[in-house]
């Protein structure tokens, strides 16, 4: 069976005053229905640009090349009105900051009803009914009253629930969640993640979960793609990623996790900062920060993703070193 979402060779470039910035540089990934793919990486690595490219929500200054297939439809180059018909119906997205993601002057109920009526020609009463069920399904108490609330009358967790209800109201086949819990406190985070997991099974949607939190990845995902500076450096099942990480960047991420260091010891960190995407270095983009860097790493062409034991990794290191160092990074239990 073909994957529900299949992205290949995605290049997203922003035109800026200083020149083109290649935020996404040849990303390929795919998600099956009912599965969760996590995309991890630090800020500015192109996670969000990837998800916005799929949704077609990038500003005019961005150009998207490559292929994005949803089911049997190609989204790159699709006319605006056709893409619009898919957004909110076949694919939906929830965003990082629930505090600002709802329209502040419109009642929550009206915003949910709008999501229904944009795509379906149903009577107002029925849309209202669906909005109420939507709120109930995300665990909002007394949904009928809550329809009449304004966003500012709700807490952050409550608003994120509304966002989720709104995203799922038309039963999309693909749900993109862009750091859905980053702005929430820890207890609310867990509730929201549980909710996404439950609803995913219920709706049988494919989920693309963007996060920088490996804990969230371990808890939620079936597969993981690790991004660095606009490229995917490692793609693996969640078990493999934590048990046998292959890429030096992934090792750095794993050993940097708090809770993996002993008390009184400094937290491990990856030295240096990610390169500027305005003028990226040739070869492997992680080379300047890599402990295992070799001469071939600093020259084009950059290492391509190649698959070993089910894990795709973009690295010149030999298999033996990767196995040894990967085991060292994964020495402790996964978070």
């Amino acid at each position: 069976m073909a994957p529900l979402l299949s992205v290949s060779g995605l290049h997203t470039t922003f035109r800026t005053d200083d020149g083109p910035v290649g935020a996404v540089d040849g990303v390929s990934l795919s998600v099956d229905a009912g599965k969760v793919l996590g995309v991890v990486g630090e800020s500015g690595c192109g996670k969000s640009a990837t998800s916005l490219s799929i949704m077609g929500l990038l500003p005019r200054t961005a150009t998207v090349e490559g292929s994005i297939r949803l089911g049997d439809r190609e989204l790159v180059g699709m006319p605006d009105d056709q893409l619009r018909a898919l957004r909110g119906a076949e694919m939906a997205m929830i965003f990082q900051d629930p505090m600002t993601s709802l329209d502040p002057v419109i009642r929550v109920g009206a915003q949910l009803e709008e999501a229904v009526r944009i795509h379906r020609d149903v009577p107002k009463q029925e849309a209202r009914e669906m909005a109420m069920k939507g709120l109930a399904s995300v665990g909002i108490p007394s949904p009928e009253e809550r329809l009449r609330s304004y966003p500012f009358e709700m807490s952050g967790g409550m608003r994120q629930r509304v966002m989720i209800a709104m995203a799922l109201i038309n039963r999309p086949r693909l749900l993109i969640a862009d750091e859905p819990t980053t702005a929430l406190d820890v207890t609310t985070q867990a509730q929201i993640l549980d909710l996404i997991r439950d609803l995913r099974t219920e709706v049988d949607a494919a989920v693309l979960l963007i996060t920088h939190d490996l804990g969230v990845v371990a808890e939620m995902c079936d597969e993981v793609a690790v991004m660095y500076a606009g490229r995917i450096v490692e793609r693996a099942s969640v078990d493999d990623l934590f048990a046998r990480p292959q890429h030096p960047y992934t090792w750095g991420l794993l050993t940097s996790l708090p809770g993996r260091h002993r008390a009184g010891e400094r937290l491990h960190q990856i030295p240096g900062t990610p390169p500027s995407l305005l003028n990226p270095p040739p070869g492997c983009r992680f080379a300047p920060r890599c402990d295992f860097v070799m001469d071939s790493c600093r020259a084009d062409p950059a290492p391509a993703l190649s698959t070993h034991d089910g894990t795709a990794v973009a690295c010149h290191l030999d298999a033996a070193t990767r196995a040894r160092e990967g085991a060292r990074a994964a020495r402790d239990d996964a978070p």
Binding site: L57, L86, R87, F95, S101, I118, Y150, F152, A167
Partner: protein, 341 residues
């Protein structure tokens, strides 16, 4: 909502009270200290004898202490002139005749007529000019501002920037004179001056369209700029992205979401500008010979007609306070967050 309204009205009443006090002090004691124009003397006509001045002083109640004068003034403003005052100021005339001479705002020095009458005759002119002009400037600036924000740096956006610069840097009297010269004098498309009451709508529009448009162009320039910047701000907000992610059309996103939010500061500014203009658009009224509040202000000032000037200041203050209250109410209706504060 009712409590909100009551609070705003009380606040407005306090402002009006302070203004009455300031007007009384400035146009009474202070004016007399600065010059020796005594109101009594101005009333008494040319070269009056001291006895005549003394008699007028008594007639006007100016011989009483200031606090008493203020209380009388306030009483007159709130409940209208007392019978005693009417009897004193217009003995032997019918009540109707007397109403024309004595009013809540006092009587004009220059003419035997109440300030109330002067203001109420002038106000429809200013009101007509302001309302027509406001319609024109909103019709120009809101769409232009929105479209400029939709396509920043486009030809339309750049043209509207030029329009804003021209509109803001050309004074209305200069633009007004140009318009008069070409459209009224050279080509005689529009009448050069005058006002026709709205009971004749076509004549009303025909006489007002030129001054209203000239006035509107200046305001349109400001409103294009604020609409554009507000829209640009709102279009970058997360909720706009949410609307797009729902599959909302561009038109729906812009009108129902972004503009709905961008409107709030525009409404505030609009209400205040209306209030300001209703207190008299002096330059445009004088340029086009429209006998509105602004024109009346100039006349009164030229003739040292203190009661009329003071009356207009007070009247304008009341209009602005009312405009403020209306702005607050409209904003509360538009923005649920304000209602709760």
């Amino acid at each position: 909502m009712v409590r909100f309204l009551i609070r705003r009205i009380i606040g407005g009443a306090i402002v009006v009270l302070v203004v009455t006090l300031a007007v009384f002090v400035l146009f009474g004691p202070v004016l007399r200290m600065q010059s020796d124009i005594s109101p009594a003397r101005l009333y008494a006509g040319k070269n009056p004898t001291p006895e005549q001045i003394q008699r007028v002083s008594e007639l006007l109640g100016l011989d009483k202490p200031y606090y008493e004068q203020y209380l009388i003034t306030m009483r007159r403003l709130v409940v209208g002139p007392s019978d005693e005052e009417k009897a004193r100021l217009c003995p032997g005339s019918t009540p109707d005749e007397c109403d024309a001479i004595v009013g809540r705002f006092g009587s004009s020095f220059a003419e035997q007529v109440s300030v109330d009458r002067l203001i109420w005759d002038a106000f429809p002119v200013t009101l007509s000019l302001t309302v027509l002009s406001a319609i024109i400037w909103l019709l120009i600036s809101i769409p232009l501002g929105i479209f400029s924000a939709m396509r920043p740096r486009s030809l339309l956006d750049r043209s509207s920037t030029v329009f804003v610069l021209i509109g803001q840097s050309l004074p209305v009297y200069y633009l007004g004179l140009l318009a008069l010269y070409f459209l009224a004098y050279e080509f005689e498309v529009f009448p050069p001056s005058g006002y026709v009451p709205i009971s004749d709508p076509i004549g009303w529009l025909y006489h007002l369209i030129l001054p209203a448009t000239v006035l509107a162009l200046q305001f349109a320039a400001i409103y294009v700029r604020i609409t554009r910047s507000q829209m640009l701000d709102q279009m970058g907000e997360d909720y706009v992205r949410t609307a797009r992610a729902k599959g909302a059309s561009e038109k729906r996103t812009v009108v129902r979401h972004a503009f709905r939010n961008a409107m709030l500061p525009i409404v505030t500014m609009f209400g205040l500008d209306l209030g300001l203009l209703l207190g008299g658009a002096i330059l445009i009224e004088v340029t086009f010979g429209l006998q509105g509040i602004g024109w009346l202000t100039v006349q009164a000032a030229k003739r040292l007609d203190v009661p009329t000037t003071a009356g207009i200041v007070l009247f304008s203050a009341i209009i602005i306070v009312i405009a403020n209250i209306i702005v607050d109410l409209v904003n509360a209706a538009l923005d649920p967050r304000i209602r709760l504060e």
